[in-house]
């Protein structure tokens, strides 16, 4: 019983980690429709920014906003220089962001080398019966919930959020009521990148910064958003918790390969059943 509880809690925690890594993409790809193949590299950039900040003596908790800021600014530049010219051109966007991903990966190898020191996980543990769990990964469940709620509030309760959704849903009409769609889209893309940076930073104690860390996240993040469908936020949360928790439970009873296999098979099954994503028929905003 205790064992099953620990498996469930740690699986939920893995699902939350997946969700944290996915939410930035949910905004950029799910909401804006930009296939950003460099999403993983934005996570990596967030991780390295936080790592560098802590190495400069900034406490980890303050290194996180630094990472968010760095990735947001970089994201805004990428939008202005590359993405803005490619809205609605799917394959061109993929090619451009793939190129960006390669450049960022190689850039990280050149600057940081292919291995780098991790930062210690806060050594706080708690017990479930006879089993001991590290608190930090469990804390990620809370982080995912807060992050999800934060994005929801930002996009539904603020003027910026309404403008952002209007500019994405019907760009011409958004402009025709006075919204500067181009600027709004730059900000939305930057926020998506900032969320990826936040993910890289907050996960740093669990997933050490390496130049190739992005690859580990990007595939599952994309699949999660694709499973989610048009109601991006709620859909991504459900997909990450459903598929992610399932895969993690399978992984803990069998092997991590079996877990991944479960993840991909379940994705295929879900996309057969819901070709437009699980949320295709939901009447919800996000």
């Amino acid at each position: 019983m205790d064992y099953f509880a620990t498996v469930l809690i740690s699986s939920l925690s893995s699902a939350s980690i997946l969700l944290i890594a996915t939410l930035g993409l949910a905004v950029v790809f799910g909401l804006m429709g930009v296939i950003n193949l460099a999403h993983g590299e934005f996570i990596m950039m967030g991780a390295y920014s936080a790592l560098t900040a802590t190495q400069l003596g900034i406490p980890f908790i303050l290194a996180i906003p630094v990472a968010v800021l760095v990735t947001m600014i970089f994201g805004a530049l990428v939008e202005i220089i590359i993405i803005r010219r490619l809205y609605g051109r799917l394959f061109d966007t993929m090619l451009a962001t793939w190129g960006l991903s390669l450049a960022l990966y190689q850039g990280a190898v050149l600057i940081f080398g292919s291995v780098s020191p991790g930062i210690g996980m806060p050594q706080i543990n708690f017990n479930v019966g006879d089993y001991t769990l590290a608190a930090y990964p469990i804390f990620m469940i809370l982080v995912a919930v807060v992050m999800l709620a934060g994005i929801y509030v930002l996009l539904t309760r603020t003027v910026y959020g309404m403008k952002a959704r209007a500019a994405i849903q019907v760009p011409d009409m958004a402009r025709a009521i006075g919204i500067d769609s181009a600027r709004t889209n730059t900000l939305t893309f930057a926020i998506g990148c900032g969320l990826a940076g936040f993910a890289g930073a907050i996960l740093l104690p669990i997933v050490p910064a390496t130049p190739s860390m992005g690859f580990a996240f990007v595939i599952k993040a994309f699949l999660t958003v694709v499973i989610a469908g048009p109601v991006t936020l709620a859909g991504s949360a459900l997909a990450a918790i459903g598929v992610g928790t399932g895969a993690s439970i399978v992984a803990s009873f069998m092997t991590s390969v079996a877990g991944d296999l479960f993840f991909f098979i379940l994705t295929v099954v879900l996309l057969r059943l819901y070709p437009l994503g699980v949320s295709a028929k939901w009447r919800m905003k996000l």
Binding site: T156, V159, M162, K163, R165, A166, Q169, V170, D172, M173, A174, R175, A176, I177, G178, I179, D180, S181, P230, R283, M284, K285, L286
Partner: protein, 232 residues
């Protein structure tokens, strides 16, 4: 008040409208008549700068209009497009609120005013705009445009696909808004009765140009022109 001179433009290299000049005076409702495909919608997209101008000028309230669509909207140009184009995954309230807030108005008050003005939207206030009927969407698109506080309103086929009872309501509302708030309007239409009921003056378009300018009385009398416009 609102003036377009020598408007020439279209999509890509295809020119649709040639040298169109027209004006709408302060507080006036003007109809833009013509059969399908004569360039009424293209002209409206030209006016809102949704399509680029090849030639010509637009003036809003006596000043040269900005070059961007959002700049023109902020200068007081409201637009209700053909096909409504409400923001589908936003609630009715949000559709109105975003237009008001973008133009520096109090969103809560603007929403309350709009629901007051258009009672049929009230029961739908929290519903997603994409789920409304055609007529309801038309009314919402109008409410959204008004929430931005325009001085000139462009309406592109506001009666298309709308049930007759709502058409009368729209006509009544447009007249009331025109009187109470002094908003000038340019209405592109194929529904002659609708136009005769609200507009004092009309331009008739043909093959991308203005063929003639007429007023309500002459339009009422000119059966030949009516036949032609109605396409019978």
């Amino acid at each position: 008040m609102f003036k377009v001179s020598n408007a020439t433009g279209g999509y890509g290299k295809t020119i649709i409208i040639h040298d169109v000049s027209l004006n709408v005076r302060e507080g006036e409702i003007v109809a833009l008549l013509g059969r399908n495909g004569v360039g009424k919608s293209t002209l409206m997209k030209y006016m809102t700068a949704i399509i680029p101008a090849k030639k010509g000028k637009v003036e809003i309230a006596g000043c040269p209009a900005p070059n961007t669509t959002f700049g023109r909207a902020r200068a007081g140009l409201g637009y209700v497009p053909q096909g409504r184009f409400v923001f589908p995954r936003m609630s009715v309230t949000e559709n109105i609120a975003v237009a008001a807030a973008t133009n520096g108005k109090n969103a809560t008050m603007a929403v309350e005013e709009a629901l007051e003005e258009f009672p049929l939207l009230r029961p739908k206030a929290t519903a997603l705009a994409g789920g409304l009927s055609g007529g309801q969407q038309q009314v919402l698109a109008l409410a959204r445009a008004l929430a931005a506080d325009p001085c000139i309103l462009l309406l592109d086929e506001p009666t298309e696909g709308v049930q007759p009872s709502i058409i009368d309501e729209i006509a009544g509302t447009l007249l009331r808004i025109n009187k109470e708030r002094g908003i000038s309007m340019l209405v592109a239409e194929q529904d002659l009765d609708f136009c005769l009921s609200i507009a004092e003056r009309a331009y008739v378009m043909e093959r991308g140009t203005i063929r003639l300018e007429t007023d309500r009385e002459n339009l009422r009398k000119d059966k030949a022109l009516q036949q032609e416009l109605l396409g019978v």
